[in-house]
Symmetry: C2
Subunit: 336 residues, 2 copies
DNA sequence: GATGTTTTTGCAAACGTTTGCAATTTATTT
DNA sequence: AAATAAATTGCAAACGTTTGCAAAAACATC
């Protein structure tokens, strides 16, 4: 069944026109007679013709590809398994496709340090979407400085040369905390590492909510990695060393919250009776957990669309700015 | 900071050699004098030179890209949020990178029906990895028949023209079921839709284990979608309509198991005392759930490597066959 | 029917690599 | 030092599109 690949010239010959006419016909160029266009397009369909994108990209200096770079902190060569991050990628993929672009999935392993050179100069993609600011923004900054069309999923409040799209983490942290306090919790724990920009904002919201409630004194920060394992261990240790000296947890992610939840349940601490918990992200598991987990929902679909809009905007020479996406507190059993 | 993109000819001029020499030098062609090679390579590094892949691909008729197609059943245009599937993609990404290829993330939305035409003839990728056989294998079959280098993640036992890599689902189902029976469960429930090839194999293992244990009579199949929601609803309804008439569940995935677990806990059915559960996949949540979820672990990393090996093998003209990856039962609290 | 206008098509160059082959330089032998 | 062999480099063509410009065809006007 392997037949020689049809090239545009062959198709043109079949249609009895020149390659240039065939090219224009396929692109629906109105300068070509309607009838000719239809004729060529019909033949193209009939023979399953498809343009050689390599040639097309070379000629047009445009790839119609967007690279998505997963920018993780330490685990450089590690496979991602954070369900939230993957959800973000999946939503971006969809948003990218809707605009007729393809998605090159990448990471620091392939791209090296010079993202502009690799992706843009290398004509692998027309623009970059970076997921996660990481703690080291060096690569992002230089890529942007070198003129790479670029948008970032992260903390929109961070000053930058490039647009950052992300949730209103401050309000998220504030609302989650306020909710815990209103439900009667008074000795709160913040679970996460505020050194990370987005989590820092959430922590700021946490503190401001405490202030507004005049409850600052009884709060505590437990600085841990963003993994359920770390949360599980940290809560376990805390219970062992200090006993149950808190009654509310604001977690920096759902995975972290679920790790904490497990530790509590294993030690027969009742949630939400003894301790109330609110997570962040609203991953699918939050709803399935028992008790179901209250969470601050990040609207990744809207964010993904914004990221792509802003990136394509840049390709059109428009100036684009950072933007926050509103979040929403989803109250479930773990906090009521 | 935007300077004109350096092309190979420019670099050659800087190095005082011809483009052909520069090209060969960059590719470390031993026909070029060692000293010249180093000189050119040094300049390339200094000026952050990168080849125009569009031109390169056109000339070489090779893209160094592998397309991964998420082949879902119904939800054609829906974003994926199955954590296991995403894990598979992430592991494939890594395996692909290790072999020096890039990963184009795609789906039926972009590719249409003629995958060979779109990806291979269109010179978007050198080969395809299809994740999920789906119920409709039409597209895969014709792509393979048209000569597209192609491998599939799915049920390796399905007869096919192309290599399928996947877990030994039969053994997985058998082991999980045997384990439940050995732990004392006798009235079992299988949760999932055996119409799906992989799940069908698991169900076959389920039945054979029952046979081997002379416990066939007391088993029941609950045919549901592969979502935690569906499982939650199904178990709830079953409990309402028939009461607790089972003491063991073999679920077709962890998400399904967790949905069932939630329904049970809400109705104060104790796991594992009243009902023992084993899931499938061993996603991160299995370990974090409370009680932690026993599960049949699919080794996605090994599978991903095999997929890529077999695909690149095909590119080299080797004949490749389907292969099963061994699974492993991870016993946790939910079944003991 | 000659002229001008508009619509439609084709020629040929360009995009930036890679590579077969010929040409040049360097090393080896007589 | 000339002749031969070996190592190194450069010329030029090719990969398959797209597009500016000119040419041809169709149509309109006098």
């Amino acid at each position: 069944m392997e037949q020689k690949k049809l090239k545009l010239a062959d198709l043109a010959k079949l249609a009895g026109v020149s390659t240039s006419t065939a090219s224009r016909a396929l692109n629906n160029n109105p300068v070509i007679k309607q009838q000719t266009r239809e004729h060529v397009q019909l033949l193209a369909k009939k023979y399953n013709f498809s343009l050689n994108t390599a040639a097309s990209r070379l000629r047009l200096q445009k790839t119609n590809v967007i690279a998505v770079i997963i920018n993780l902190d330490a685990h450089t060569e590690q496979s991602i398994d954070d369900p939230f991050l993957l959800k973000v990628v999946s939503d971006i993929n969809q948003a990218v496709n809707r605009r007729g672009y393809e998605l090159l999935l990448s990471n620091s392993y392939m791209a090296g340090d010079d993202w502009h050179g690799y992706f843009i100069d290398g004509r692998r993609a027309d623009g970059l979407i970076v997921v996660g600011q990481g703690k080291q923004q060096q690569n992002i900054d230089t890529a942007a400085k070198n003129g790479a069309p670029l948008v970032v999923w992260g903390d929109p409040k961070t000053p930058s040369e490039y647009p950052i799209v992300g949730s209103n983490n401050y309000v998220g942290g504030y609302q989650a905390t306020m909710h815990l306090l209103e439900q009667g919790a008074s000795k709160l724990l913040f679970l996460g590492d505020p050194g990370h920009a987005e989590i820092g904002e959430r922590y700021r919201g946490f503190n401001n909510a405490l202030d507004a409630h005049q409850a600052k004194g009884a709060a505590k920060l437990l600085k841990i990695d963003i993994t359920s394992q770390a949360a599980y261990i940290a809560i376990n240790q805390l219970l062992i060393s200090e006993g149950l000296n808190f009654d509310g947890i604001a977690a920096c992610s759902d995975m972290v919250a679920l790790g904490a939840l497990k530790a509590l349940k294993e030690r027969y601490v009742s949630v939400p009776n003894d301790v109330r918990i609110v997570g962040f992200d609203d991953i699918a598991m939050a709803d399935i957990s028992h008790p179901s987990l209250s969470s601050v929902k990040q609207n990744t679909q809207i964010a993904a669309k914004l990221l792509v809009d802003k990136l394509l905007g840049q390709l059109n020479g428009e100036a684009c700015v950072s933007q926050e996406v509103e979040i929403e507190l989803i109250c479930r059993q773990s906090s009521q």
